[in-house]
Amino acid sequence: MLSAPPAVSQQTQVLLHAVTAEQNLIVIYAEVMSEYSGLAATLAPLRAEHEAHLAQLRARVVEPPGKQVHETVTARPPITGTKSAALAQLRAAERAAVTAQMDHLAAAPASLAQLYASIAACESTHVSVLGAQIGTQ
């Protein structure tokens, strides 16, 4: 009889958490763009960058036979009631994402740390872009 597979390593758990976090961000973007179509031109490039992040993170995960990476969105917060508030909500989510990526750096292998750092840098630019956009609403 086969024994149960060993527990998922901490490093793998962090990577899978990063995958889920990107999925959650993409969902928030989709919902804000659906609610406020006028923001689509601004938000679509940012969402596309998150989709690129997700693809790169998923590419680091190998699915052993019989196992798959979960395609699970774990947070689907309600979109707040005005354009400015929705942008602020996105901005807060991006800021939290930067913090999370920074928290992943210390224990990661070098190349994965570089990926987390690059994604954090991108997300920090999103914080700035969204902040500027809030100022125009």
Binding site: S9, A52, L105, C122
Partner: protein
């Protein structure tokens, strides 16, 4: 080692910590395995070299800009001088001789007016971001965080000059 070469070597090592492949059980879910971390001094020297280049380049760009853009260029020029000084102090503390600035640098393209000066500033920031990516590859957690924060600063400056975000700041294209 340049930041870019450090990055390439990190991605080219698909072997595991024990020399096996990445399929040794569930730990094998992470493709990146465990490449050798970059050495601290070369990584910091790479960042310093990029800061030297940025200080030079902003001198060129700033001369071709006017108004608010010139004010911004001057602020960024000063910020790069400060970063240069910080890196020099870090290297000296490590017992290394900080790499010196070159007397002149070959610009990546002809810079002859405000538009190309803005493109140059963006290119300088992209270069600096890539150099700090090499610092993120070292083992020391504090240095990793230092490099990652510096990447955020330069990535934001690049967006200020280029007007567009990129998905993977600092990563080779």
């Amino acid at each position: 080692m340049s930041a870019c070469s450090a990055h390439r070597s990190a991605h080219s090592d698909r072997g595991g910590r024990d020399g096996r492949g990445v399929w040794g059980g569930w730990d094998g879910w992470v493709v990146s395995a465990t490449p050798a971390a970059a050495a601290v001094v070369p990584a910091l020297q790479g960042a310093l070299a990029a800061e030297h280049a940025a200080v030079y380049g902003y001198g060129v760009a700033g001369a071709l800009l006017a108004g608010a853009a010139q004010v911004q260029a001057r602020a960024d020029w000063l910020a790069h001088q400060l970063a240069r000084d910080t890196l020099e102090a870090m290297l000296t503390k490590l017992g290394a001789t900080p790499v010196a600035a070159s007397p002149a640098y070959r610009l990546p393209f002809a810079v002859s007016g405000a538009a190309s000066a803005r493109r140059l500033a963006a290119a300088l920031e992209e270069g600096v971001t890539g150099a700090y990516l090499g610092v993120v590859a070292v083992d020391d957690p504090a240095l990793r965080a230092f490099g990652a924060k510096a990447m955020q600063v330069s990535a934001n400056r690049a967006v200020t000059w280029s007007g567009a975000t990129v998905a993977f700041p600092g990563m080779p294209g």
